[in-house]
Amino acid sequence: MTKAERRELQERQRAAKATGKTAAPPPPVNAKPGASRPSQPPTPASPAPKRGSQARGTAPAGATTGKGAKDAKSVAEDAVVRSRGLRIFSHFALQRTVAHAKGDVHPAIVHLGLMFAEFKVSGANARCIATLSVFKQVIQDYTTPTHNTLTRHLNTHLSVQISHLVSARPMAVTMGSAIRQLKLEISGSDIDLPEQDAKDALCHKIDNYIRDRIIIADQVIQETATKKIHDGDVILTYARSSVVENVLLEAWEEGTRFSVYVVDSRPMLEGKRLLSVLVAASIPCTYLLLPALGSVITEISTVFVGAHSIHSNGAVYSRAGTALVAMMAKQHSVPVVVCCETYKFSEGVQLDSFTKNELAPNGDLFSSFPLTRPRGSLTLQNQTNLEILNPLYDLTPPSSITAVVTEVGVIPPDSISSIPLALGRQV
């Protein structure tokens, strides 16, 4: 049997398998069958042996038995490998379809959910502020049912809203810690307070949280970080972080003269937006895609990046590509400074980018390709044997981070674990 014949045979079997699949009920692992990869759901155990026998049956009589057996084996292996490839990435499955509002979901939450799902609101800070502001509205529109108290019932009401938001896009760590704080406030609020007063008090608490933990924190970080930028520096930043953007703008306003390299990459290409902001402030900018990083890294004096969250071992969970930038910078002895508010600290430890991640939607959602090639040739779709993965985050190990700028000061990544305690977190 020639290679071509063998290949043809495999293709035929694959086709047979695919048709068998569509008839079969959707596998339990992938909750949304129509989601992103209809062609290859995780293989149930049954087809492999069946296909093995099929292969032996269809093998031409002239073929030696050894070849035939090998062929059958390889086909069976094929199925195993494919399903394994899926299994590796299956847990950060993409939740595309925004679930229909289940239960008593506030219209503002539905709206926000759509914004999240379409990445109209993205970025840890922006999502957290948006969520809290909408929650204020939800709380104001809330009336305690009879035979219940606000302290007890509001939390369950909020949980419904939260699960709707999570169905739109996995929750950001920032949202998590803000919501935890809010729930704590709700259950701690005075049971005898008139309802309107209690709601006002909660809204006030939310405003305070946004002000203290995000806005003021950012201002302090900006003040600290701008001191690290000097005249003649060449600053490199990756993607777009609201904090880094403000740091650069403020340093420029203060009269420091430096230039900025904006590194960017698919799938989001957020750096372009940062670039337009910086250019509008007439900061001299250079724009490059991530692969070209190796060529420019030698000219950089400091790397500034933002973070989605930071783990207690000092690992920074941030936009995919940050780890590459930090790694290259570290190799060339360029300091890597992470700007991160303390409310982004997350208590767990994550060892690699696999345990938790999120996928960006397929296709050219962000209109990110320059129009030098026909778009059709660049936006591939999933097909047999081909899957498109766009992880949104990666984990930068603490070893490639020089310092973390927080509102409580500049600290080395190893000391992250002491900060929540120092801030007075109740154990």
């Binding site: 063998r6 290949r7 495999q10 694959r14 292996e77 094929d78 195993v80 490998v81 494919r82 394994r84 490839g85 590796i88 990459s265 698919r266 799938p267 372009k272 670039l275 250019v279 001299p284 900018c285 250079t286 724009y287 490059l288 895609l289 991530l290 692969p291 070209a292 990083l293 190796g294 060529s295 420019v296 936009r319 995919a320 590509g321 780890a323 590459l324 790694m327 290259m328 190799q331 690699d352 980018s353 696999f354 991640n357 390709f369 320059p370 129009l371 030098t372 090639r373 040739s377 591939l380 097909q383 044997n385 081909l386 899957e387 993965l389 766009n390 992880p391 985050y393 990666d394 984990l395």
Partner: protein, 370 residues
């Protein structure tokens, strides 16, 4: 007879190729090498010379012209060097074969004098029937007439090598990849593509293709691999680090392999190789021998100072940004020898530190500068 008239046809061929190179109409190192050989064949077949020096000078002249047209396409120079090496070898075969073959005794002094481990076989196989008469005043063409057939054979050998280079590299593919591995590659390389496809006949493995912006050659690569039945994942360059912890091997192609064991490769290769090093993942480079370049002290920064079109990074649809921003879009990365574990060539596998030896064997020192 006018001394230059003979070359008008081949002259035109040289000019055409030089123009094509200058305009980057010939892309891909093997394509360039093939075109160069074809032009050289034309040149040699039309050339008139009465001694070896004239012949060498003619070939060199053509080589210089082509290399100047596109100095970053190293395979052009390599092909010319290879041909010169073959020319000298054939000449030595023919001329020294008639002379006594007592030179085959190994002595350390000769080794030192020679300065390079040139293959010692020259004298033995020369049962040559050729009788070379250089600078024969009676019959000036006799030298060329006797040498040309062997030269044509030599050129054919180079041509054959180029035509089978992918197959020969892929021969060992099944030994380098085993079942259930996860391979990461970046961009599109014909060599790697053939290599992976040939390994796919024996094993089932998964390939993760990084798309390598701004050319996004990875899309074509992923398309081609998946249609050949290889389980393929296409990922953006940004997730190389994130995925590296699950990758068993990084297999990439090269643009040119340098004498120090480093290489030029498509931009992004440096990132992939460094990330692989950070995770102790082996880096395998597939490259034909025609990519071996006897240079090393080149412009390493800025990816060999060769830039592609910036509009593919920041398109003109970005209106007001375009004229205020510098855009960097290099073609190649320089990957240091310590980041590469092995070079798989059509002549076996070699670790980076032994590249210089192969280069010494396949080219003559005096041709390093054409």
């Amino acid at each position: 007879m006018a001394p230059e008239s003979h070359s008008s046809g081949s002259q035109r061929a040289v000019e055409t190729l030089a123009a094509k190179l200058r305009r980057r109409q010939v892309l891909g190192s093997r394509e360039t090498a093939l075109e160069t050989v074809l032009v050289l064949r034309q040149v040699v077949s039309k050339a008139r010379f009465t001694n070896i020096h004239q012949l060498v000078e003619i070939i060199r002249g053509v080589g210089r012209k082509l290399v100047e047209a596109q100095p970053k396409e190293h395979t052009v120079g390599n092909t010319v060097r290879k041909l010169l090496h073959h020319v000298r070898e054939e000449y030595n075969n023919a001329s020294k074969g008639t002379a006594a073959s007592a030179a085959n005794v190994f002595s350390i002094s000769k080794f030192v004098l020679q300065g390079q481990p040139r293959k010692q076989v020259t004298a033995q196989k020369a049962e040559s029937a050729l009788v070379l008469r250089e600078d024969d005043p009676d019959d000036p063409d006799s030298f060329a007439r006797t040498l040309k057939p062997v030269l044509m054979e030599a050129i054919q050998v180079i041509l054959d090598e180029l035509e089978t280079v992918y197959e020969n590299i892929s021969k060992s593919a099944k030994d380098h990849i085993h079942s259930d591995e996860i391979i990461l590659t970046i961009g599109k390389s014909h060599t790697v593509e053939t290599f992976l496809k040939s390994a796919a006949h024996y094993h089932n493995f998964t390939v993760i293709v990084a798309e390598s912006g701004p050319s996004y050659g990875g899309h074509d690569m992923a398309q081609s691999l998946s249609s050949a039945g290889v389980s393929t994942f296409l990922v953006p360059d940004s997730s190389i680090y994130a995925l590296m912890s699950r990758v068993n091997k990084v297999i990439i192609g090269a643009h040119a392999v340098l004498a120090n064991g480093g290489m030029y490769a498509i931009t992004g290769s440096l990132l992939a190789a460094t990330a692989a090093r950070a995770h102790s993942t082996p880096v395998v480079v597939c490259a034909g021998q025609f990519k071996l370049t006897p240079l090393w002290n080149l412009y390493h920064e800025y990816g060999a100072l060769d830039f592609a079109d910036p509009s593919s990074v920041l398109g003109f649809e970005e209106g007001d940004l375009v004229d205020k921003v510098d855009v960097v879009n290099p073609f190649y990365d320089y990957v240091r020898p310590d980041l590469v574990d092995v070079y798989i060539t059509n002549d076996g596998d070699h670790p980076p530190p032994s590249i210089y030896r192969i280069i010494k064997e396949s080219y003559d020192d005096e041709d390093n500068e054409l």
